[in-house]
Each structure stands twice: as C-alpha cells, then as structure tokens.
Symmetry: C2
Subunit: 190 residues, 2 copies
C-alpha cells in the first residue's frame, strides 16, 4: 500500500527541496480522508474550508444550472489539488459541488493552515505561487479555446491534461467539461 504522505512529499519535491523536519512540520497540517465513490466533498452553499490533495482516485467539480445541467469546471486525479477555490480563498459560500467519481484518498489542509504555512515558510509560499501560476495558465488556455468556440482543441487539451481520464469516466462527463453535447463529442473523437 502506498504511503499517502510519501506521495505528498514527492509532489512537493517536484518544485521545492525539503528537509525531513520541514516536511514533517508541513505534513502535520494535513489530515487523511477516505471517501467512497459518489460521496460529496463540498456542497454548494457551504464554505469550502479545505483544499484537497488527491492521493488516489478521481473527483469532479461542477456547477448545475437552473435546468439541472452539469457544467464541469475541473476533474482531479492523483497529484492534483481540488477545492472550490473562490470559497477557499474568500471564505464565501461555495457555488460548486465537488464529488468523488471513484473511491478516493485525500490529504486535506485548511485555508488557515495554507496561509499560516505560506507566512512561516518562504519555500512553501514559493511552491504555492508556482502551483497557482500553472493553474492560471491552464485556465487561460481554456478561456481562449472556449472563446474561439473550438471544441476540437478543448478536446485535445483535455486529452493532454488528463491522458487516463477517458478510461475512467463516462463520455457524458467529458462532454460536460468541453461544453458540447454527447453527439458533438462523438464527432470530435473520430
């Protein structure tokens, strides 16, 4: 069995170097959470107090519109972070639902602890800045592909970003992420 804290350390050490003592201190701010497929991690309307590092499993972050249609903002799998970020950073109620698409193992850290660690450890703030910067850049790509109404390139981006996703989720969810109908998705896959 994989040690979740070992996975977390390797993830940090892709960007920063940590001594054992530093990692021990950082990891003391995380809690392990195991949830079953279909469980809801964040409900819309509640404040998202935690950010979740995915050790194992797959989740989706979505918003349902008035007609009940799901719009998927993000998938999160191993080595990704997931939360309702607007709520996490502002402590306003969440507008998203975060739900498990498989059984998951998460390491969660509170917003207060994220800020505390950033203030205490320059290298943790550095890690956080690099992570949010890459989130910003991938979001920018997505905005441009949506503006250009280019479903084919959104499909391609998704494939690049999550190569194993297509084996793990139903086609309907892929379509909801790209923002096209199931029928259009089938045409893109040709």
């Amino acid at each position: 069995m994989t040690d979740p804290y070992k996975v977390l350390r390797e993830h940090f050490e892709e960007l920063i170097t940590l001594t054992d003592a530093e990692f021990e201190y950082i990891s003391s701010h995380f809690q392990l959470k195991k949830l079953r497929k279909h469980s809801i991690v964040i409900h819309p309307g509640e404040i998202s107090r935690y950010e979740y590092f995915v050790v194992k499993g797959l989740l989706k972050t979505f918003m349902a519109d008035d007609s009940g249609k799901e719009h998927i903002w993000q998938f999160a799998m191993e080595n990704w972070w997931v939360s309702d970020y607007h709520s996490f950073h502002t402590q306003e109620p969440s507008s998203f639902t975060v739900q498990c698409l498989e059984d998951v193992e998460l390491l969660c850290m509170s917003s207060a602890d994220r800020n505390k660690l950033c203030a205490e450890m320059h290298k943790f703030e550095h890690f956080s800045r690099l992570k949010i910067t890459s989130g910003f850049l991938s979001m920018q790509k997505r905005v441009m592909a949506l503006l250009q109404n280019d479903a084919q390139s959104r499909y391609k981006q998704l494939l690049e970003q999550y190569p194993s996703l297509f084996q793990r989720v139903p086609k309907a969810l892929i379509a909801a992420y790209i923002g096209v109908s199931r029928e259009t998705l089938s045409r893109l896959q040709i």
Copy 2:
C-alpha cells in the same frame, strides 16, 4: 503629473507593507516605458520577457484566429498587470498580441527579475502569490460563464471588473471579449 513609482508603491501596499529601502530596491528592477495609442507591446511569436504594470492608459491582449477575427483575452488599465503570461512564465513564443488602445505609461519588469525578487524577498513572493490567485479566481468565473453559454453574465462580470471600460473602448471590442456578435451585445445592453 503623477509619479509612476508612487502609483506602483501604492499598488504594492494594498497587499504588503514596504519600508522605503525595500521599495527602492524593488523599484530599481522596473523601467518606465511610454507608448502611443496603437503601439504593439508584444507581437505573437516573440518571447514575452516582461510583465507590465499599467500606470496610465488602456491595452488589450488578443489572439487572432485563422479568419482574422480577434478574441480578446484581457483588457488592462490603470493598476493592472499585463503580459503574455504563458510566454512570460515558460519563455516560449507568445501567441497573443498586446496592443495599446490609448497612449500608455507602463512600468516593466523582466521575468528573471520577478523570479529574483520572489526568491530574495518573501513578502514580494507573497504579493505575487496573492495577485496570481486573484487572476486565477477571475479566470475561473470566466470559464464558468463561457461554459454555461451565459453572455448576460459575462457582460455583467465585465462591467463589474472594468466599470469605466465602456466609456473607453468601441463596442466591437467589448463583443470580442464576451465572445458574441455586435448585434447580440446590443441586446444584452438593453
């Protein structure tokens, strides 16, 4: 006449406190640049080595598609930062054009200096993390409004984000930002 460095200092001090010596050190990494309306700040294909703080004036960041149609990713006015961020962070060629919509005064800082200051001064890295986080959050809002195909809410967001924009740019540019035709834009404004 406004002192551009005074504007920059006030901008930093919205989020962090700086001593005179600290600000002097930071500001020594910026250069003032004055450009006329219509000037191109970043051409597509070149590497975006600088990030620009807007002291005065208005700019647009856009991408032209194969048919020559402009898709606007960002407007930038006083107290905003502008660059091709993908190129700035990765040092790969830019895919955007950044162009002045008015005469502008910019304070520019290189990517190397941004990284150097972040490494040397924890509080500068803190400032940078908070700024990129708010960029990420507003980008997320835009993705959701695009996914939900809700032009009305994209129009509302734009109004909230840049209240004075509508007096400063032609309607065609507003439409190119929202991702609708000029005709649809007129209907949204009713």
